[in-house]
Symmetry: C2
Subunit: 340 residues, 2 copies
DNA sequence: TAAATAAACTAAATCGTTTTACTATATAAT
DNA sequence: ATTATATAGTAAAACGATTTAGTTTATTTA
């Protein structure tokens, strides 16, 4: 009853050839290894007829390659990451690699666990959005010759491959855009995580407001409160003080909370305020008013990441080629930021 | 320079014990196998000090278990699937399983490829939203004693474990809700895919309209046109004919297209029409007007799927326990469907 | 005191591939 | 008639774990 999976051994004994011969033929090395055409045909016909599938675990053990790449982000269900994941998945499949997605919740402990876990599994490469305290773990991967590409953020003190966008410039432009549209009391709503991409966005905002001699209003919501009532209260508070006439959200989940707060507490305000957000989302095209967004070039990011990854996978001398790619984000102007 | 990964062999020779002993200790069987406390301690201390990680590929080859579950959906970047994926991921990690996510694009060829691929990789189980033509492949997995759980839809002629919602009833209720709110010309916008969940939703709509003696207006958009101009044109057409006063979208990506079309062609209409959609989305709480949705119980679905999966993984006699779970969806009433 | 039992380990087979280093026969070159 | 070369394969080691069936020494038991 219990159908056992067939192995090369079984094919070999069935066809009266050696395991080696079967292996050669299945790997397309029949000709090269001087196996006769008739034997090649015999093996091909039979394996096809029974739909033989070699055991890739055994193959991996022998070759040391698993053809699996890990893609680790904060939360795979977040729009930005999910879209990126989808593109990465396709690029990888084209080159016969599979992608293991996982969410680290921006938590060091979980990140470390995941890295160890996949390292044990001998995955061929890591694409990671690092949480702030895992510099050592990344370094250790690199020391062990494992291909690593970071994105969205990086560690200043670590020579690694990474793909990011120019957050400061993008943030500056977005703020300037609000200023150009006549807004004078622009709030910047962000989280308290002290990661480079967030700090750069803050910097961009501050430089733009300073240059225009505007007061800056920064709200840093503790990361753990982002999705809670507490976070909403904080947003609600800042909106209703200081004569805020515009808001710049530093990341998409904050925007979502923010719009909800507005809707609940003061719906009319949505059409009065200037609104810009980091990270685009289908939602913002459909929202009323449509929301102006700093759109990260998803496709380009994915392509750059995979270009580096495939390059790393194809060589032994990993360190020779540390690539740092900085892409430009696009400001997509919509109704929410035009002069009122 | 090239740091080689250590193996049990290396630990054993370093500590002058056998590989067997090291293996026993690392697997927590030291006591049971009568290894002395001092040897146990020696091995534990050393492996911890060098942060030794056993090769899980070798382990998998030997044990036949990979501790990997595949989660295959239409498109991992779709809101519904992404959210579900996130919950599944957590449930799996709690039991020490990893999840491989992949997108089959609702395409048979791709589905088959993916199934073969992961079967070769000896994954321990499959959670699948099946495209319509892979009944044989699913059957073959089951014959090979691989745990399989389908969800969202299933094959009538195949005895499999599955988790679905009661689409017909949910659809009926949603339609009835529109009727109760005084809408009389309700359009049902769906795709042409002839899969059971879509057919059931259509059936629910038709039964409700029939019962109320209303004319039914069904638009079936070819699956390939869903995201194209052609699809939008079709939506635009139906909205502007037949005196439609309400729309029921059969799935979330159609709703997104639909709302966009409305916004582009006739923004005022959004507040006139009754609108209900299948599948909730954060977007719908924030949209103006807020959109009434049939919400699938994500958490419950994930839990039921994993309950079945873990049950299957823990036994040998797979067929004894075919479980068919039908859950109830919730109608979340919002502004878009109240009497105008 | 000899036999039985327990304690503390270990050798070697096994999982299913890949790959190196042969072997045996046939043909060509000198 | 030998030697060299090509053809058509194969045996066996290796990857790194788990696990069965021992072995050796020490301690009880009869």
């Amino acid at each position: 009853m219990k159908k056992k999976r067939l192995a090369l051994k079984d094919i070999a004994s069935k066809l009266n050839v050696s395991i080696t011969t079967v292996s050669f033929v299945l790997n397309g090395k029949g000709k090269e290894k001087k196996i006769s055409d008739e034997v090649i045909k015999k093996i091909q016909d039979y394996t096809e007829s029974i739909n033989f599938r070699p055991n890739l675990v055994a193959q991996s053990l022998r070759t040391g390659k698993t053809k699996i790449i890990v893609f680790m982000v904060e939360d795979i269900s977040n729009y930005f990451f999910a879209k990126l994941a989808r593109i990465i998945e396709d690029l990888a499949y084209d080159k016969d690699y599979k992608v293991l997605f996982c969410s680290n919740e921006n938590d060091d402990k979980r990140s470390k666990e995941l890295i160890n876990l996949f390292y044990e599994r001998q995955v061929d490469g890591f694409i990671i959005i690092p949480s702030s305290g895992i510099e050592e773990d990344i370094k250790s991967l690199i020391n062990n010759r494992v291909p690593v590409v970071l994105f969205d953020r990086y560690f200043k003190s670590l020579e690694t491959n990474y793909v990011i966008i120019n957050n400061k410039v993008a943030s500056q432009n977005a703020t300037q855009h609000l200023i150009d549209n006549g807004f004078k009391n622009i709030a910047f709503i962000t989280t308290d995580v002290r990661q480079i991409q967030m700090l750069d966005r803050l910097k961009g905002y501050e430089e733009a407001t300073n240059k225009a001699n505007l007061v800056s209003h920064v709200l840093q919501i503790p990361f753990k409160d982002v999705d809670s009532e507490r976070g909403k209260d904080m947003i609600s508070y800042i909106i209703n003080h200081n004569n805020i006439d515009a808001i710049f959200f530093s990341t998409n989940y904050l925007t979502q909370s923010g719009l909800e707060v507005l809707k609940e507490t003061n719906p009319a305000l949505i059409n009065e305020l200037g609104i810009v957000t980091f990270d685009d989302n289908d939602l913002f095209r459909i929202h009323t008013p449509t929301i102006t967004a700093v759109a990260q070039p998803l496709k380009e990011i994915a392509q750059e990441i995979m270009k580096i990854m495939f390059d790393l996978l194809s060589r032994d001398d990993l360190n020779l080629s540390v690539k740092k790619i900085v892409l430009t984000a696009n400001l997509i102007q919509r109704d929410s930021s035009i002069s009122k």
